[in-house]
Symmetry: C2
Subunit: 151 residues, 2 copies
């Protein structure tokens, strides 16, 4: 499991390279895919948050499984924001995503870097380590949502 996850983290960058046109038949498919990846990401991130904020008991094994899913899911949405995927299905993606590509890319990379830190923190067995990693990770989500997601 850990090996598979590490390999995915190491290799999945390769799947982010091709434009959406090469990966999705229709813009609608790209939008549905990125929304799905973000739903999975948000669900497991929310569970880590419940532990970090004391709304759920901290269990290192459960937290580790959630963090592994979060780290994988965090890699997925980006290649589905390709040219022409701003419309085709209802989406909260703001046009700024395609006008400020460098900023959007930077926000996405910062988010992936922060959530990657959740994996060792979640597995540490030390709730304070999970709390310390969760705050910056949550901020990295918010930073992108504030500028690039419709209110």
């Amino acid at each position: 499991m850990k090996i598979a996850v590490s390999l995915a983290l190491a290799l999945s960058a390769a799947t982010l390279a091709p434009p959406a046109s090469a990966q999705f038949a229709k813009a609608e498919d790209a939008i549905k895919y990125r929304q799905s990846a973000l739903t999975v990401l948000g669900t497991h991130f929310g569970r880590l948050g419940a532990m970090a904020n004391g709304r759920a008991p901290y269990d290192a094994a459960i937290a580790a499984a959630d963090a592994d899913v979060v780290a994988i899911a965090a890699r997925l949405p980006w290649h589905a924001f390709g040219p022409g995927t701003d419309t085709g299905r209802p989406t909260a993606a703001r046009p700024e995503i395609w006008k400020e590509q460098a900023t959007f890319k930077d926000r996405g990379e910062k988010m992936q870097a922060e959530v990657a830190k959740l994996v060792p923190a979640a597995k540490s067995g030390n709730l304070n380590q999970l709390k310390a990693a969760f705050g910056p990770a949550a901020q990295s989500c918010k930073a992108c949502h504030d500028d690039f997601r419709k209110k």
Copy 2:
């Protein structure tokens, strides 16, 4: 070590065990989550199929990343089929899921076992190994869809 590993596996399986009520605030959330996990799974599985069937060039690194996502995503939907999640949002899930739990669980476990074989096959660098693993994996998806997904 073996004990630690088995224990870790047993505990991480615990994330799949709790009823939806313990993991999702509303049935609607559980349905949206499982649909999202299956969309991510299907997207990356489809990319492996394109390589296996010669519609896309075989690239071991890309195939490996897709297979890793498939293997992780294949573990996710099941805990979102808990009691009371048969309605709450449009869903293709058939009532038989909740009437034939043992069969549904068995189909899910068979699917996870088959897609797990895609990971080493995809990474092998040998397209024939990917083809050999893809067929049974696709059959394991179809077997569940045939009985438990609305046409």
